[in-house]
């Protein structure tokens, strides 16, 4: 238990340090892009957030398979935590995309394949969370969530293909018109690393919180029994 605690603290410290470094990179280190100016720096949030949205659902998928196979509630706690975080980060991705679209194209929303795919992924996250919420009991919710986790995951690449086919005329690589300078790439890498560590840290904490919630319920059951 003690080792776990110090491990958690270490995780938090690493995440925070990396995050500071990433912020330094984004605010000061990276060069300002010529055509789009400062607002292009949203890019350094935007890309990591997209990555976390996908990573989140990949973990949901993995946890779902493990749950249906092993039937350990730990796996369910893992995948539902990943879904919660993935949902939050996908929401942030949509917001940052919107805040970028405004200065870049003059509109709050554009139906680029990437944004559209993210939007649908966001809806699938909602579907996952809804099913758990409306299940008649907890284990059923876990089972149903796992089913949605698996089906949704295999659907994501098909969604990505369909949106890009649908909007094939759209300039997919608009961001990288001038290409990325080495500094930009480096800044992006740091930012991705920082966000990923943060995500993993949150995931570990959230999963353990859910385990503790189950412990509370178990104890409560013990107390209420035979009274």
């Amino acid at each position: 238990m003690k080792g776990k605690e110090s491990f958690k603290t270490a995780g938090l410290v690493v995440a925070l340090l990396l995050f500071m470094w990433a912020l330094y990179m984004i605010f000061i280190f990276v060069p300002t892009e010529a055509t789009m100016g400062i607002s292009q720096r949203i890019f350094y949030f935007h890309v990591p957030l997209a990555w976390l949205g996908l990573l989140g659902y990949t973990l949901v998928f993995f946890g779902s398979i493990m749950y249906l196979w092993k039937r350990r509630s730990g796996w369910d706690n893992f995948s539902s935590s990943a879904a919660e975080l993935g949902f939050i980060f996908t929401t942030l991705f949509l917001i940052s995309g919107s805040l970028w679209a405004k200065p870049a194209w003059g509109v709050w929303w554009t139906w680029t394949p990437r944004l559209t795919t993210a939007l649908i992924l966001w809806f699938i996250y909602i579907a996952y969370l809804t099913v758990r919420f409306y299940a008649s009991e907890k284990q059923q919710g876990a089972r149903f969530g796992a089913v949605v986790g698996i089906v949704g995951f295999v659907d994501v690449p098909i969604i990505a293909i369909s949106t890009s086919l649908w909007r094939s005329e759209h300039p997919g690589a608009l961001v990288f018109q001038g290409g990325l300078t080495p500094e930009m790439t480096f800044g992006l890498m740091v930012s991705i690393a920082a966000f990923t560590v943060l995500f993993v840290y949150f995931l570990a904490i959230r999963t353990s919180l859910k385990q503790q919630e189950m412990e509370v319920e178990r104890l409560r059951e013990l107390v209420e029994q035979d009274q």
Binding site: T130, Y134, A135, F144, V148, V154, I158, I159, S162
Partner: protein, 223 residues
Amino acid sequence: MSFLSKSLAVARKETIAELRTREMVFAVLVFTILVIVIFNFTAGVDQEVIRAAAPGLLWATFSFSGTLSLNRTFVREKENGCLEGLMSCPASREVIYVGKVLSNLLFMLVIEIIALLVFTLLFNIYVLSPPLLVITVLATFGFATVGTLFSGLSANTKAREMVLPILFLPIVLPVIIAAVRGSEQVLAGKSWAGLSPWFQLILAFDAVLSVVSFLVFPYVIEE
């Protein structure tokens, strides 16, 4: 072979019951035609406008009428505990799934074909062409495979009718996109070759999602 014959027995039973009451096909069909009529008032009589909006309207209608009919498929199993009776039969859970997919596919196709006829009559657009029918069958198969899985799932939740569209629509979105775009091409008089990317997309969806749904269905109805 017993697998297929038992699946057919399930589909057969569904069909007999539906033919007797006609409650689902009838209600959904009325809904579908109403949507088409309302569309008539919003799009006006300009043939160009209608032609441009028709594919989108058609598939929006089919998606919603699909969810409507899918919502019904497990209702019959809930009365008198039939699902338990079904589960006590010496047949795997997948048999139930395949049987239900077949009957859902049949019901949806019947509704869609009639809707296409109505569409042709009311708007003077010839939508009953062979490529459009192929698109309809393939896309509806995608609807039925995913929809049967999710209707089994939502039938066991606390808010049945509400949960299904939230699950179903985002997942089948690739099929809707492909079907709309494909139908546009057909109405624009494009050849079969121009349709191939959309066919491929729907086929990919059908192949992947039907296998996955088949595999996870037992987890939806077990306890």
